[in-house]
């Protein structure tokens, strides 16, 4: 008996598609969900698939769409997390200056110096990215991985374009602080 399509796809491209989904979504549960959605959608549209085109490319393009769908779906359902604790003074006096405990510490690394060949560092960075509030992470990932323009993020996630800069800013503030506390403070 010939194997059904999804089983064959799973066998041939499962690991590749899963790795791709993990690189986008970071969380195994989400990656697995999106893989399932992809196969379901592929089964429905397999008649449109032309033998000539590459099956892997075809499945990957469906997967990409499903990932964006997931971002969008999740994005709508997450409570806004924009009011995370600010790293800057909110009182009128000294308004907008760094809070004493949040001001960046000098890492003592010169620019261009090879300080990060370390796999451990990647793990820390990954962890810090995962620590970002979901909403920020989705915008951050779309900006970096799909190289999406603010207007396309706006269209897909419904975030206003000016808000996107604010989200990226907050995400990067938090990333830097997270790296400082997990990497540099534990080293010294």
């Amino acid at each position: 008996m010939p194997k059904t399509n999804p089983e064959m796809w799973l066998h041939k491209y499962g690991d590749y598609l899963y790795s791709y989904a993990i690189s986008r979504l970071k969380l195994p549960e989400l990656a697995e969900d999106v893989l399932q959605e992809t196969f379901l959608s592929a089964m429905k549209s397999k008649d449109n698939f032309k033998e000539k085109s590459n099956e892997k490319t075809w499945l990957t393009s469906i997967l990409k769409r499903k990932i964006i769908d997931l971002y969008r779906k999740k994005y709508k359902n997450i409570e806004t997390s924009m009011d995370a604790k600010s790293m800057f003074v909110q009182d009128k006096f000294m308004y907008g200056s760094w809070n004493a405990e949040d001001a960046p510490q000098d890492w003592g690394v010169a620019q261009g110096e090879d300080w990060i060949g370390d796999e451990e560092f990647i793990k820390v960075l990954d962890k810090c990215i995962l620590n970002l509030p979901d909403k920020w992470r989705f915008v951050f990932m779309m900006k970096h991985q799909e190289e999406a323009s603010n207007s396309s993020i706006n269209k897909k996630l419904g975030v206003s374009e000016s808000n996107i800069w604010t989200i990226l800013h907050r995400a990067r503030l938090q990333l830097r602080e997270c790296i400082e506390s997990l990497w540099f403070k534990t080293l010294s």
Binding site: T4, P6, E7, L10, G14, D15, Y16, Y18, S19, Y20, I22, S23, R24, P28, E32, L35, Q36, F39, L40, M43, S86, F88, Y95, G96, S97, W98, A103, P104, Q105, D106, W107, V109, Q111, W115, I116, F121, I122, L125, D126, I129, M141, K143, H144, Q145, W165, T166, L168, H169, R172, L173, L175, R176, I179, E180
Partner: protein
Amino acid sequence: MKKTLINRFKNVMMKMMITCETATYLIDKNHYTELSFIEKLNLKIHLYTCKSCSIYKVESNLINDKIIKTLKFDDKEIKLTDEQKERLIKNLK
């Protein structure tokens, strides 16, 4: 007439002074897009006098390359576990 001129001068001076919050916002925005002339000028003046933001700028640049590399999909294979595979096949039937 004189008063409006002074006020206008004051306004311009106030606009030149940006907070650390705005300065770091501009530093981060600059990773994605070109800043306007005024933004660049504001930032430069701020960085000239602010040590914390200067440190921020260096560190923001340092991690930027690493972020880009980390987030790029490089075919590094993560295998599905057998359990996941079984679950997927079951759910697709």
